[in-house]
């Protein structure tokens, strides 16, 4: 008999929306503004809400979920340990995730990523099925490029403090010194090809390696990075 369903554990990469204000009007204004800057990036994006303030008004979470839907995002859960919030989450039909204790270093980096994403001003992909997104000028510190649902080809440098993200493969004809995220929607087949790798971070489908863990021999010339059994594998080309 063929399998009808299978239940498997899986690590997915989800975007976390941290909420630092209990003033819903303010949150609404800031969020709406941010989405307006890059609507494609946020479209259908699964979101986990992580409130950093408490207590929140009884209707806060419900209002926020409604707002996220209006802005075409997909709220899927709440990350909290606060019993009141857990109750609100259940009422709103959201999954509850346990907060994770992360090391100071990771918090820092996450913050940085948040910031550069917020400051992101570079091109993002418009419509899918157009082949790869081509970027011909340097991606500079503080900029993020996102190739949604497609590959990304960069024919210039990716400078320190810049981020390039693609749901598909990423090809870099130049020096890559910033952060590179391929398969960002969870595609484990995605690969990264770089002419000269000196990246702050490389990441495929949520599995990443930081600069200090990348062996010097892979920083010499063309290199391919792929994911094999939850490990990033580097090959010189």
């Amino acid at each position: 008999m063929s399998e009808v369903i299978a239940l498997k554990g899986s690590v997915l990469s989800l975007s976390v929306l941290k909420v630092f204000s209990d003033d819903f009007a303010k949150v609404k204004a800031v969020l709406t503004n941010k989405v307006a800057q890059a609507p494609d990036f946020f479209k259908a994006l699964p979101i986990v809400i992580e409130p950093e303030v408490s207590p929140l008004a009884p209707m806060f979470l419900a209002q926020l979920v409604e707002l996220l839907h209006q802005q075409n995002m997909m709220p899927v859960g709440v990350r909290t340990a606060d019993p009141q919030l857990i109750e609100q989450a259940e009422y709103a039909g959201l999954a509850v995730f346990e907060p994770v204790k992360v090391s100071a270093e990771k918090v820092d980096k996450a913050d940085q990523a948040d910031k550069s994403r917020a400051a992101s001003s570079a091109a993002s992909a418009d419509t899918p099925d157009q082949g790869a997104l081509m970027v011909k000028t340097a991606v500079r510190s503080g900029q993020q490029v996102y190739a949604k649902g497609r590959d990304l080809i960069v024919t210039a440098a990716i400078n320190p403090g810049a981020e390039v993200v693609a749901d598909g493969h990423i090809h870099v004809y130049g020096k890559a010194k910033g952060k590179i995220f391929a398969g960002s929607n969870g595609n484990r087949q995605a690969r990264i090809f770089v002419q000269q790798l000196d990246a702050e971070m490389v990441c495929i489908a949520g599995l990443y390696q930081m600069a200090e863990d990348i062996k010097p021999e892979y920083k010499q010339g063309w290199v391919e990075i792929c994911l094999q059994q939850d490990r990033l594998v580097f090959n010189l080309l």
Binding site: S121, A122, T137, A138, N159, P160, G161
Partner: protein, 270 residues
């Protein structure tokens, strides 16, 4: 038609105001009619470096707020013909400048027949710096040979390419120039500072010139004189080259290597 040039950097204290003063004075010496505007509201530095702080009656904010006309506020330089300074306000806060107000001032300067409007940007990448670069046709990005300064310049280049009027309206992009200043070849050789080639490679924009680290700069500023007007010092020569290259002259880069005297000392002891 006036060209608007922003002098910007991201990082503070790298030499924007020094460069604005000398660049503006150098262009005026060539016969162009030049206005240099201090966008650093609340700090006011340019008028000190230009030596006209006692002659400030009305400032940039007064003009933007309609309290004075541009003619009333422009201070004519006493040494160089065709050079005019628009000082920043020391007493007002940063929010006193608005985009429309700045746009109006630039229009007025255009109508007045200025060839160049130099905008001395405040440090940072926030509102003040974005206002200073918004109307720019060209940008002089001032960088020191160190990692944090280069990183900030990279950042400001990204902002020039995304948030300027030209970028937003899809016009021809802002013309970008690099000025690498406070360059100390000894420290570059010792590996304590980035080499010119590394900075140019990373930022990947055209190098207008290298200004050496020199005590003459501080001395000139203290006496209220743009360093370009001091004769016979390297920083002055460097800024003259920068003006010439900006105007299209092809001059080889200078001030990149260790002076012979010190090399001599290194080889043969004192």
């Amino acid at each position: 038609m006036a060209r608007v040039i922003v002098v910007t950097s991201g990082k503070g204290g790298v030499g924007k105001t020094t460069t604005s003063a000398s660049f503006a004075a150098g262009l005026a010496q060539k016969g162009f009619k030049v206005a240099v505007i201090d966008f650093d509201v609340g700090l006011r530095n340019l008028d000190l470096i230009m030596g006209c702080e006692r002659r400030v009656v009305y400032d940039f904010v007064n003009v933007v707020q309609g309290e004075a006309s541009i003619k009333q506020a422009l201070i004519k330089d006493k040494r160089v013909d065709n050079l005019f300074i628009l000082a920043a306000s020391q007493t007002r806060d940063k929010d006193a400048l608005t985009q429309e107000g700045v746009g109006k001032v630039i229009e007025d300067l255009r109508a007045d027949g200025f060839d160049y409007v130099i905008c001395d940007s405040p440090a940072g990448i926030e509102k003040g710096a974005q206002l200073a670069l918004f109307y720019a046709d060209e940008a002089v990005v001032v960088t020191n040979p160190e990692v944090s300064s280069v990183r900030d310049s990279d950042r400001i280049l990204g902002i020039l390419q995304a948030k300027s009027k030209r970028a937003i309206e899809g016009d021809d992009p802002i013309v970008e120039h690099l000025v690498l200043t406070r360059y100390n070849p000894n420290r570059v050789q010792a590996g304590e500072m980035l080499a010119m080639e590394d900075v140019v490679e990373l930022l990947n924009i055209k190098l207008l010139g290298v200004v050496p680290e020199s005590e003459d700069v501080l001395q000139a500023s203290n006496s209220g004189l743009p360093v370009i007007l001091t004769e016979g010092v390297s920083a002055s020569e460097a800024y003259k080259d920068i003006v010439d290259r900006f105007l299209g002259e092809d001059k080889p880069q200078r001030f990149l290597s260790v002076e012979h005297k010190s090399l001599f000392k290194k080889w043969f002891g004192k």
